[in-house]
């Protein structure tokens, strides 16, 4: 009984982490084709703003929203100044965003020092069937599901979503039909950055704050997006579920080293068998 609950909780926990870590990247890399090496730094922006807002007296929820908003605005500013020059030049975008990443981590190190006081995880724990589980991690799962649902609504049901999908598919055609392509690019990039900031804000209470903290999200984020493929709605959720099951299983039986190895081996196999990731597989099935 405890083992089953414990296992399901672990899968849920890893799933939430993968979805939240990857959602922003899935939009920026998956949809827009920008290999965003500064993804971890967007996450750190969210975490820092959340923590400093909380230290200044704001409630944690408000702090997380501020963190997400700050990362989003920062993303828009970067898109306007740097990233917009690199659409359809993925390798150049890699170098440019890597440079941004280095400037941001070293800059944060100079500004804030290499650490900051923590927030503390809210809600405590719940005891079930002889084990105890952090309630906050279950809240994270709920938020991960809400983020996916929210993305579905935004991209499928709103005018902005239609414009965004049209722009990413064929920018010239979209422009000739009157879509404000430049603004759509900026807003979409900002949305991706805001989701990264949200991940940072949500995980800030559970982690050590440091300018390099985004690094511990980046591998998982890229792995999930690569396995998921280009479409954040169709590809990311199944990729996150499959990878969560593999990682949780390997970790529970053999420890963290095998959890990390399992994740990387799994993504190698996925990329070999499904070159377009789960997106390709899902869309093939539906057509």
């Amino acid at each position: 009984m405890l083992q089953t609950i414990s296992y399901l909780y672990q899968v849920a926990d890893v799933f939430a982490f993968l979805v939240l870590a990857a959602a922003g990247l899935a939009i920026i890399f998956g949809m827009m084709g920008i290999i965003n090496m500064a993804h971890g730094e967007f996450i750190a922006v969210g975490a820092y703003v959340t923590t400093y807002s909380y230290q200044a007296g704001a409630p944690l929820v408000l702090g997380i929203l501020l963190g997400s908003a700050a990362a989003g605005l920062f993303g828009i500013a970067l898109e306007r100044t740097v990233v917009r020059r690199f659409y359809h030049r993925p390798i150049d975008s890699l170098v440019a965003t890597w440079g941004i990443s280095l400037i941001m981590t070293q800059g944060a190190l100079l500004l804030f020092g290499s650490g900051a006081p923590g927030v503390g995880t809210p809600f405590g724990s719940v005891a079930v069937a002889g084990g105890s589980f952090s309630i906050y991690r279950l809240v994270l799962l709920l938020i991960a599901v809400l983020v996916l649902a929210g993305l579905y609504l935004v991209f499928m049901k709103t005018r902005f979503g239609v414009h965004a999908r049209a722009t990413m598919q064929n920018a010239a055609m979209a422009r000739s039909l009157g879509v404000p392509v430049d603004r759509v690019y900026a807003a979409t990039f900002g949305l991706g950055a805001a989701l990264a900031g949200l991940a940072g804000g949500l995980y800030a209470p559970t982690m050590t704050l440091s300018p390099m903290m985004g690094g511990s999200f980046v591998i998982e984020a890229f792995v999930t997006v690569v396995a998921g493929g280009a479409d954040v709605l169709v590809g990311t959720p199944p990729a996150a579920i499959v990878l969560a099951v593999i990682k949780a299983t390997a970790t529970s039986f053999y420890g963290q080293v095998y959890g990390v190895m399992g994740l990387l081996v799994a993504v190698c196999i996925v990329v070999r068998v499904l070159p377009d990731g789960f997106t390709g597989w899902m869309t093939r099935r539906s057509t």
Binding site: Q10, Q106, T121, R137, P205, T206, G215, S216
Partner: protein, 404 residues
């Protein structure tokens, strides 16, 4: 990327003198995963160099500190070590916090006649005539702590450790000590560096039901364990050789994350004595922003003075052979902020004044026990004798020197 910052201390007085300065090469991470903990090393060395220079230098020669930032990258440690040797022409090297970086530096410095101070606490066992180890060792930290923890909390122990040489060998030491004392290791998990999510590890620990936990996790990401464990309801006595005095988690995490943590180490900022208090005052006058003067900072500071002592004993010579002749006398001792420390001729590691502390729910630190002098005896006991033979090896409880 050569983003290295060159921090050369002004040697104003040196200009007027004709004796050339002593060049001190210094490599510690100023950025990267563990910079929070290693920056105090740079500041400790800066403080010591400044004090020594003000007081007239070593044998009339000023010290010139040449520091680069290896950014938690072992390849950069090697690159900068070569640069310090070849273009800066250093007289002495201070380098490395992690055991991985030390093992990266050692083969390079071993091909020279430059003395190398490794100022970190570590898993022990390096028997190398170039290296002088000035940090705490397993026989000083773990041999004191583990039996006490077993007596107080029980014989079932679970170890989580960073997955590299430090964590692996420290876990081996823990296993050896637990078994020698009639206990049992009910679980042992290695954590890759950079891992920040511990949900499954926490449940593995809960399932194994240990009496206490040995935590040997390293770096900012892994330190997240201390936040996530109590949040998941895991409240258990913990022992460690690197928290509090080194990582000052009790200052970084919101209480009661570090409650019931027990550590044996040669320095905690909380320790008080006339020497320690005066040292803390000087440090805070120069670096008022310091969160915590950690063990790394104290060790780096003391190591510069230990070097000064050796050069003075050798009547101004900075040659490794002359310094080693002085080490062989067994009289190379200084009064460090922690207390007196002496270099053991056989292993070239130092004896320490040791403290064992515990942390309460409000993150107050209490000294449980202390020892005036704990010798670095293990290497000498198993057969390392650098006065006779220089194998340049690292030994562990399962890899012992061949009888000579």
């Amino acid at each position: 990327m050569l983003l290295a910052t060159v921090a050369t201390l002004a040697t104003t007085a040196a200009l007027a003198q004709d004796k050339p300065p002593i060049k001190v090469g210094f490599l510690e991470d100023q950025s990267g995963e563990i910079a929070l903990l290693t920056l105090p090393k740079l500041r400790g060395a800066q403080l010591a160099v400044e004090e020594i220079n003000k007081a007239g230098g070593i044998d009339g020669r000023q010290l010139e500190l040449i520091a680069y930032d290896p950014q938690f990258d072992n390849a950069k440690f090697q690159e900068f070590t070569r640069r310090l040797i070849d273009s800066d022409e250093i007289d002495v090297l201070f380098a490395g916090a992690t055991s991985a970086s030390r093992e990266a530096v050692r083969p390079i410095i071993d091909r020279t006649d430059i003395p190398y101070f490794y100022t970190n606490q570590y898993e022990g066992g390096v028997c190398d005539a170039n290296m002088i180890g000035t940090g705490g060792l397993p026989e000083q930290q773990l041999s004191t702590l583990v039996p006490w923890m077993m007596e107080k909390y029980g014989k079932k122990v679970y170890t989580i450790a960073a997955d590299y040489n430090f964590g692996q060998i420290s876990a081996e030491w823990t296993r050896k000590l637990v078994e020698e004392n009639g206990g049992e290791i009910v679980g042992e998990e290695m954590i890759p560096l950079g891992v920040s999510q511990f949900g499954q590890t926490i449940q593995n620990i809960q399932a194994a039901k240990p009496d206490w936990l040995m935590t040997l996790v390293v770096g900012n990401s892994q330190a997240s364990f201390y936040e996530q464990a109590p949040a998941a309801g895991l409240k258990i006595p913990m022992g460690s050789s690197i928290t509090i005095g080194l990582g000052f988690e009790h200052k970084r995490f919101k209480p009661p994350a570090m409650e019931n943590m027990h550590v044996a180490m040669n320095w905690f900022e909380e320790v008080s004595s006339p020497d320690a208090d005066a040292f803390k005052q000087r440090w805070r006058a120069k670096f008022p922003e310091e969160t915590y003067i950690n063990d790394m900072g104290q060790n780096a500071y003391a190591a510069v003075y230990l070097y000064k002592k050796l050069v003075e004993m050798a009547e101004g010579s900075t040659e490794l052979a002359d310094l080693r002749t002085q080490i062989a006398t067994g009289q190379a001792c200084i009064d460090a902020p922690e207390g007196q420390i002496c270099i053991d001729p056989k292993s070239q590691h130092v004896s320490h004044r040791m403290w064992q502390v515990s942390v309460d729910a409000q993150h107050n630190v209490t000294v449980e026990r202390s020892w005036d002098k704990v010798e670095p005896y293990w290497l000498g006991e198993v057969g390392c004798d650098l006065t006779q033979y220089d194998p340049k090896e690292q030994y562990t409880p399962s890899y012992l020197p061949e009888p000579q």
